[in-house]
C-alpha cells in the first residue's frame, strides 16, 4: 500500500546545453507504505529534484518511479491524476496562496479534482482541522494571516486532496519552536487518520529524529544511506562529511560513551537519553 519505488533514477537539468547538470545519478530506493520517511541532504544534493519526481512534476531522464508497483509515467496523459495521489507541499508553500479567502484557497485542489460542492466543503473542513486552521480563519484573506498560519493554510490545501502519499519540502523552515511543533503535529495527525505515507525533507536533524521512522540521506546527486534514525545517526562522520549533522543529543551520548558510560548507540531523542541515563544513575539521586 502506497509504496514508492525509484529504480535507477537519473535526472539532468538543461540536458544538451552548456549548463547541463546532473541532479540525480542512478538513485534506487524504496519508501515503504505507511511510514514517515525523512529526506536529508545538503543544498544541491538532489533532494528537491527527487521530491518533484515523486509526483510527476519532473520526469526522470532515466529510470522509473513506481507507486504500488505501477510506473507513474506509463500513461503520461494521466500524470495530473497522480498528483492527487501524491500530494506535494513545496518549500515556503505560503507563497502560492492566491484566493480571496482561506476556504477558497484550500478548496482549489479538491475543485481541480472535480469533486462535488459538499465533498469539497467536507474536505476543506477536515484539512483545516488537521492543519490547525480555525473556523473564523477560513473566511479571512490568506494574506492577513501570520506567517505560521499562512504556512498551515497552504499545507491544508494539499491535505484537502487526501493524498495517499504526502510529501513536504521543509514544512517547518523559519518558524519558531511552537510553530514547528504545530506543523509537524498536524502532519502526524493527518498520517494517523489517513494511514498515508509521509515524506518530509528537513535540515533539522532534531525534528527528523522525533518524527521519522526512516531516513534517506542524499549527497552529490546520489543516495548515500537509507535506514532507521538509529542506523543513520550512528554515522556522524559520514554525515558531517556531506555537510549534515546528528541531533545535539546524539553528540552528548557519543561524548559520554567515549568517557566510558555504557550507553546504547541508538540515542537520538532527549527522552531516550534521559531514560538511559536514569537507568544508569537511577539509584543515586537525591
Amino acid at each position: 500500500m502506497n509504496t514508492l519505488q525509484l529504480e535507477h533514477i537519473s535526472y539532468l537539468y538543461s540536458a544538451g546545453t552548456p549548463y547541463e547538470m546532473r541532479a540525480l545519478d542512478d538513485v534506487s530506493l524504496t519508501i515503504r507504505g505507511g511510514t514517515v520517511t525523512g529526506l536529508i541532504g545538503h543544498t544541491g544534493s538532489g533532494k528537491s529534484t527527487l521530491v518533484q519526481l515523486l509526483n510527476g512534476l519532473n520526469r526522470p531522464t532515466a529510470g522509473r518511479v513506481l507507486i504500488d508497483g505501477e510506473d507513474i509515467w506509463e500513461k503520461p496523459k494521466e500524470i495530473a491524476r497522480l498528483r492527487y495521489r501524491v500530494g506535494l507541499v513545496m518549500q515556503y508553500p505560503e507563497y502560492q496562496l492566491f484566493e480571496e479567502t482561506v476556504r477558497a484557497d484550500i478548496a482549489y485542489g479538491p475543485k481541480n479534482m472535480g469533486l462535488s460542492t459538499e465533498e469539497i466543503e467536507a474536505r476543506v473542513l477536515e484539512a483545516a482541522e488537521f492543519a490547525g486552521i480555525s473556523r473564523d480563519m477560513l473566511d479571512q484573506s490568506p494574506f492577513d494571516l501570520s506567517g505560521g498560519q499562512k504556512r498551515r493554510a497552504a499545507i491544508a490545501g494539499i491535505m484537502a486532496m487526501r493524498p495517499e502519499v504526502l510529501v513536504l519540502d521543509e514544512p517547518a523552515a523559519g518558524l519558531d519552536p511552537q510553530g514547528r511543533e504545530e506543523i509537524l503535529g498536524g502532519i502526524r495527525a493527518y498520517r494517523e487518520k489517513s494511514g498515508s505515507t509521509v515524506i518530509i525533507v528537513s535540515h533539522s536533524m532534531e525534528d527528523m529524529a522525533r518524527y521519522c521512522d526512516e531516513l534517506i540521506v542524499m549527497a552529490n546527486a546520489k543516495l548515500l544511506m537509507q535506514g532507521s534514525c538509529e542506523e543513520i545517526f550512528s554515522h556522524p562522520e559520514e554525515l558531517a562529511a556531506v555537510g549534515l549533522d546528528v541531533p545535539q543529543i546524539t553528540r552528548v551520548a557519543e561524548l559520554l560513551r567515549q568517557r566510558g558510560l555504557p550507553l546504547p548507540e541508538s540515542i537520538y531523542t532527549v527522552e531516550q537519553a534521559a531514560a538511559a541515563l536514569r537507568q544508569l544513575m537511577g539509584g543515586v539521586g537525591r
Binding site: Y13, T17, L88, V89, M90, Y95, F98, Y108, F143, I158
Partner: protein, 272 residues
C-alpha cells in the same frame, strides 16, 4: 536550477571585450550612422567587410553571431518581399502576369538586408556580445551623467536596470516554482479554451505579484540599511579609464565613416 543568459553576452577577452563601455556605446552609434552613409555598392562592400573584421577581432564563433540573427529573419524576409515586388524602376528583370520585378527593387532589398544585418552584428559586436549587461548599464550611467544637469534621472535609470538584471532570474525561477506548486494542486495550464487558460493563470500571477512586491519592499529596506540615498554623493569602486585602444578604435571608426563618404563620391558604382 534555471540557466538564463541575459542578452547574448559571449565571455571572452578580446580587444572588443576590453574596451571601455562608454566608448563602446559611442562606437555602436557611430557604426549605425556609418551604415546609413552607404550609397554605392562599393561602400556596401566596405561595410560588409568591416562587419567580418569586427567578428574576427571579437573572436566570437561566426556561427554564434549568425544564430543571433535568427529572430529578425522574418523582418528581413518581409523587407525583401516588399521591396522586390513593389519597387518600380527602369530596368525590368522579370515581367510575368502581375509580377514585375525591377533591378532597382532587388538592389534596394539587398541593401536593406545588408544594412539590417550589419546594424545587428555591429551593435552586437560592440555591445551585447562583448559587454556584460552590468558593464553596459554602468557605461550608460557614466556616459550620460552630464545630463544630470538637466535633471534627467540618469543614476536612477541605471539603478533600475541593475536591479532588473539582478531580479529577472530570481523571478523566472520563482514563476517556475509557483507553477510547479499549483500543478501539484491539479492546475492545468495547457488545455481548455482561451478564456479557461487565461483564468488558469490567476493562481500564478497573484502569488507572483505578491512576492515581487514583498521582494521589492525587503530590497528597499536593505538598500536603506546600506545607506543608499540616491546618486548624490555616491562614489564608485571601479573607475573607468579610457585607454589608448579606446581612442584608437574611435579614430578608426571616424576614419571608416570618412572612407565610406569618399567611396560614395568617387566610386559610385550602382548608386542607391
Amino acid at each position: 536550477m534555471t540557466s538564463i543568459t541575459l542578452g547574448q553576452y559571449f565571455p571572452g577577452n578580446s580587444l572588443l571585450h576590453r574596451l571601455d563601455p562608454r566608448f563602446k556605446i559611442v562606437l555602436a552609434v557611430l557604426y549605425i550612422t556609418a551604415s546609413f552613409l552607404c550609397k554605392s555598392i562599393w561602400s556596401f562592400a566596405a561595410l560588409a567587410l568591416s562587419a567580418v573584421v569586427l567578428i574576427l577581432i571579437s573572436r566570437i564563433p561566426p556561427s554564434f553571431v549568425l544564430r543571433g540573427l535568427r529572430p529578425i529573419l522574418f523582418i528581413m524576409l518581409f523587407t525583401v518581399v516588399l521591396n522586390v515586388f513593389l519597387t518600380r524602376g527602369e530596368t525590368l528583370l522579370i515581367d510575368f502576369w502581375i509580377i514585375h520585378i525591377y533591378l532597382e527593387g532587388v538592389l534596394t532589398a539587398l541593401s536593406m538586408v545588408l544594412r539590417i544585418t550589419v546594424i545587428i552584428i555591429g551593435t552586437g559586436m560592440f555591445l551585447t556580445y562583448t559587454t556584460t549587461p552590468i558593464a553596459l548599464t554602468d557605461g550608460i550611467e557614466r556616459l550620460f551623467s552630464p545630463l544630470k544637469v538637466f535633471h534627467l534621472p540618469v543614476h536612477e535609470f541605471a539603478m533600475m536596470m541593475t536591479i532588473a538584471l539582478r531580479f529577472i532570474p530570481i523571478l523566472i525561477e520563482e514563476t517556475e516554482k509557483i507553477m510547479a506548486a499549483q500543478k501539484a494542486r491539479g492546475a492545468d495550464f495547457s488545455t481548455g479554451s482561451l478564456m479557461q487558460r487565461a483564468k488558469a493563470l490567476i493562481p500564478i500571477l497573484v502569488p507572483l505579484f505578491v512576492s515581487a512586491f514583498r521582494r521589492a519592499d525587503e530590497l528597499a529596506v536593505a538598500m536603506e540599511c546600506r545607506c543608499y540615498r540616491g546618486g548624490e554623493g555616491r562614489t564608485r569602486m571601479t573607475v573607468l579609464h579610457a585607454t589608448a585602444a579606446d581612442w584608437v578604435m574611435l579614430a578608426a571608426m571616424i576614419l571608416f565613416g570618412a572612407v565610406l563618404l569618399l567611396i560614395n563620391r568617387f566610386a559610385p558604382g550602382f548608386a542607391l
